[in-house]
C-alpha cells in the first residue's frame, strides 16, 4: 500500500466508489462507461455521485451493447485513456468475450508492444441471492486460460479500494470481479488514495496445520471455518488470492510446504476452473511436502438454480470448507 491515511469503516461498495472518485480526480484520462452508471449510479450503487461530480462525459451511460462497451475500452486505451467499464453482471461477459480475450488480452503481444490496453472491466460476480442461472455465476474460470489478461477479485473493502486503484493504474487489461455477496460488507478502509499491489496474495490468518486458499466471498467463510477449527486445535492458514490470474503461486506454495495440507475453496464449479489450477500447482510444487491430497471445495458442476434451497445446495460455504479441511486431516 502507498500513502494510506486515516482509517474509517466503509462498505465494499463505498470503498469501490472512493477508488473511482480518487482515480478520476488525480488522472483525467480515467473515465467510466456502462449501463445505468450515470444518474442512477449503477445497479449496485458503485458509481453513485460520480455523474454529478464528473459529468456525463466521464461517467457515460451506454446502450445494452456489451461488446461495444469493452471494444470502446480497448480503443480508448490504445490512445492513452484509462477506461473503466461496468458490465452489470459477470454472466454478461459472454457477450464481450471476444473483445476481452482476442483483443484486449493479445493487443500488447501481437503488435509487438506498440499498443497497451490499460483498461478495467468491473463486474458483479457470484451467487447466493436467488439470482438464477444468468445472474449468479463465478466466471474467473472462463478466463483462467487466457494469457495477457489480469483477473482481480477483492475480498474486503480495503482491498476493493486499493486493488481497484491499482488496476486502473496498471497497464494491462484487468477484469475486476466484485462479489455481490460482499457489496454490503463493512470493513476498515484507509482514507485517501492508495494502491494495493496486484498479483500478491494476503495471508488473512496464520496457521500451521492446513492451508485454505480462496478468494472473494469464501475468504470470509474460510475465516469462520478457521475459528471453528481452532477450537478443535486445528490451526488453519487462510490465504486470500486477491489476484486470481496471474496469481501469487509463491505465497501459496510456501504456506502449503509449511502446513503440508491444502484446501482450495472456490465458488465456481469444480471442474476446470481456478480450483483446478490451484490444486494442480500446489500438488506439483508441494509434492513431498503434502501429507494428504489437495481438496477442492467448490460449487457443484451444475448451472445455478433459481430456487433458494437448491442454490444453497450447489454453492459451497463454511460447512463445506470445514468438511474439506477435515478430509485433509484424516
Amino acid at each position: 500500500m502507498t500513502t494510506a491515511e486515516a482509517v474509517r469503516v466503509r462498505t465494499y461498495v463505498q470503498a469501490l466508489n472512493e477508488a473511482l472518485d480518487l482515480a478520476m480526480t488525480r488522472d483525467p484520462s480515467v473515465f467510466l462507461l456502462g449501463e445505468d452508471i450515470g444518474r442512477m449510479g449503477g445497479d449496485f450503487g458503485v458509481t453513485r455521485g460520480l455523474f454529478d461530480k464528473f459529468g456525463a462525459e466521464r461517467v457515460r451511460d451506454t446502450p445494452l451493447s456489451e461488446a461495444a462497451i469493452v471494444g470502446i475500452c480497448v480503443g480508448a486505451a490504445m490512445v492513452g485513456m484509462r477506461p473503466v467499464a461496468e458490465i452489470m453482471f459477470a454472466d454478461f461477459l459472454g457477450e464481450c468475450y471476444d473483445q476481452l480475450v482476442n483483443n484486449a488480452a493479445k493487443m500488447h503481444y501481437m503488435f509487438d508492444g506498440q499498443f497497451k490496453a490499460p483498461l478495467v472491466v468491473r463486474t458483479a460476480a457470484g451467487g447466493g441471492f436467488g439470482g438464477g442461472p444468468h445472474h449468479s455465476q463465478s466466471v474467473e474460470g472462463w478466463f483462467m486460460n487466457v494469457p495477457g489478461l489480469v483477473v482481480v477479485a477483492p475480498a474486503t473493502p480495503a482491498d476493493a479500494k486499493g486493488l481497484l486503484a491499482a488496476s486502473i493504474e496498471n497497464d494491462n487489461p484487468v477484469l475486476f470481479l466484485e462479489h455481490k455477496g460482499l457489496y454490503r460488507v463493512k470493513g476498515d478502509v484507509p482514507e485517501g488514495y492508495y494502491t494495493t499491489p496486484l498479483c500478491r496474495a494476503a495471508v488473512r490468518r496464520e496457521g500451521r496445520d492446513v492451508t485454505i486458499v480462496t478468494a472473494m466471498k469464501l475468504v470470509h467463510d474460510a475465516l469462520a471455518a478457521a475459528e471453528v477449527l481452532a477450537q478443535e486445535g486445528i490451526e488453519a492458514e487462510v490465504i486470500d488470492l486477491r489476484t486470481v490470474r496471474p496469481y501469487d503461486a509463491e505465497t501459496l506454495v510456501a504456506s502449503v510446504r509449511k502446513t503440508g495440507r491444502a484446501v482450495v475453496a472456490t465458488e465456481a464449479p469444480k471442474m476446470g476452473g481456478l480450483a483446478a489450477e490451484l490444486s494442480a500447482t500446489l500438488s506439483e510444487e508441494c509434492f513431498g511436502y503434502l501429507k494428504a491430497p489437495v481438496v477442492r471445495v467448490s460449487g457443484l458442476d451444475t448451472p445455478i438454480p433459481f430456487s433458494v434451497p437448491l442454490e444453497k445446495l450447489i454453492l459451497p460455504g463454511k460447512d463445506d470448507i470445514l468438511a474439506g479441511v477435515r478430509q485433509t486431516m484424516q
Binding site: E35, D36, G38, R39, M40, D43, D61, T62, P63, L64, S65, E66, A67, A68, D91, F92, G94, E95, F129, G130, G131, G132, P133, H134, H135, L300, D301, T302, P303, P305, F306, S307, V308, P309, L310, L313, I314, D320
Partner: protein, 327 residues
C-alpha cells in the same frame, strides 16, 4: 377495425389478469416471499394481451423479463395453469420450470412458452433457429420474441433481423418500447427513439403502434401473425408503451410524463372507456377485476403452499444421460 365486444371483453379480462398478477407478485416480493430480482409489467398489459390473443399453443414465444402476465395468459388459454407461472416465481417445485428458472426462465413448451433468457436479447438469435426448423419442416407456425427498447442495443438485433430477412423466416419481433432501459431513455441509447427506424433497413414490414390501445395492438398483432403464417417472412412490431415500475423502487421520470401514462393513457382505463362506450357498465368490469384478482390470490396461496424442489433436483438435468455427483 372494430373488435367484437366479446373479444374486447376477453382482452380486458386478460389485461386485468396481467395487472392483478403483477401487483400481487410485487406485493409478495416486497414482503420478501419472492426471491431474486423482479421486473414488473404493469402498464404494458395491452401488448401482452394482444400477443396472447393471437399466438397459438403450437407457436413459440420468447417472453421478456416483464412478461409474467403473457406467460400466465398462455397457460390459461392453452390448457396449462397460470398458477404454475406464479409458483415458478416463488421457486417452488410446482413452478413451470420446477423452481429452477424463476422470473427470467419460466418456460412451458406445451403452451408455446419457450422461456426468457436473462442475457437480454440473446434469444433474438435463438428465435431464428425455431423459425428455421418450422420453415424447413413446412409447419406454418410463428416464432415470436418480445424485446424491450433497451435490448435493441445488442448486436444480435442486427444478426437476427438480417438473417430472418434473407431466409424469410416466420419471426414476429415484438418490441416493447416503454421509453427506458432501466434508467436510460431510449433517445440516449439509440440512433432513433423510434425503433422501427432501425428495423426498416432490413426490408421487411415494420410497424409502430400505440401499445396501450388494446384495439390497435390487437389488430396489429393479428395482421402481423397472418402475414407470417401465410409464409411471407418476418414482421417487426414496435409497441409504444410505458412501464409503471421505475428503477426498481424509485421514480425518476418527469411528473408530467408519469401523469400522462398513468392517468390519461393507462391501457386498462382506455379499455374501460372503449367498453363503456359500447354499453358495458363499470360494475361489470369491476366484477371481472374482482374475479381475476381472486384467481391471482389463489395462485399466490398455491405457490406458498407448494413444496420447494427436492434436493435431487439440484444436480438433475445438467446433462441428458449423465449424472452429476451431489455433494
Amino acid at each position: 377495425m372494430s373488435i367484437d365486444i366479446e373479444v374486447l371483453m376477453e382482452l380486458y379480462r386478460d389485461m386485468s389478469l396481467v395487472r392483478a398478477f403483477e401487483l400481487g407478485l410485487e406485493r409478495e416480493f416486497k414482503r420478501g416471499a419472492v426471491p431474486g430480482m423482479l421486473h414488473i409489467g404493469v402498464g404494458q398489459e395491452a401488448t401482452q394481451a394482444a400477443l396472447a390473443a393471437h399466438l397459438r399453443a403450437d407457436d413459440a414465444f420468447f417472453p421478456d423479463h416483464r412478461c409474467h402476465g403473457l406467460n400466465a395468459l398462455a397457460e390459461e388459454k392453452h390448457g396449462g395453469e397460470g398458477r404454475r407461472i406464479m409458483a415458478e416465481l416463488f421457486g417452488r417445485a410446482t413452478g413451470v420450470s420446477g423452481g429452477k428458472g424463476g422470473s427470467l426462465h419460466s418456460a412451458n413448451p406445451a403452451v408455446g412458452n419457450f422461456g426468457d433468457n436473462a442475457i437480454e436479447g440473446s434469444f433474438m438469435v435463438t428465435v431464428l433457429g425455431v423459425a428455421l426448423a418450422w420453415k424447413m419442416r413446412g409447419e406454418p407456425r410463428v416464432a415470436c420474441c418480445v424485446i424491450g427498447d433497451g435490448t435493441v442495443g445488442r448486436g444480435e438485433f442486427h444478426e437476427s433481423l438480417n438473417m430472418a430477412k434473407i431466409w424469410q423466416l416466420p419471426v414476429l419481433y415484438a418490441c416493447v418500447n416503454n421509453g427506458y432501459a432501466i434508467s436510460t431513455p431510449v433517445a440516449a441509447s439509440h440512433a432513433s427513439g423510434d425503433i422501427v427506424d432501425m428495423a426498416r433497413g432490413y426490408g421487411f414490414p415494420c410497424k409502430q403502434v400505440d401499445g396501450n390501445d388494446i384495439e390497435v395492438a390487437y389488430a396489429a398483432v393479428q395482421e402481423a401473425v397472418a402475414h407470417i403464417r401465410a409464409g411471407n417472412g418476418p414482421y417487426f412490431l414496435e409497441f409504444k408503451t410505458w412501464r409503471w415500475q421505475g428503477i426498481f423502487s424509485g421514480e425518476f421520470r418527469p411528473a408530467e410524463e408519469v401523469r400522462y401514462w398513468k392517468e390519461d393513457h393507462d391501457p386498462l382505463k382506455l379499455a374501460r372507456q372503449a367498453l363503456s362506450a359500447r354499453g358495458v357498465t363499470g360494475a361489470d368490469l369491476d366484477r371481472v377485476d374482482a374475479e381475476v384478482k381472486a384467481d391471482v390470490e389463489s395462485w399466490i396461496q398455491f405457490s406458498k403452499d407448494s413444496p420447494m424442489p427436492e434436493a435431487a433436483k439440484a444436480v438433475a438435468d445438467v446433462y441428458v444421460g449423465w449424472e452429476v455427483k451431489p455433494r
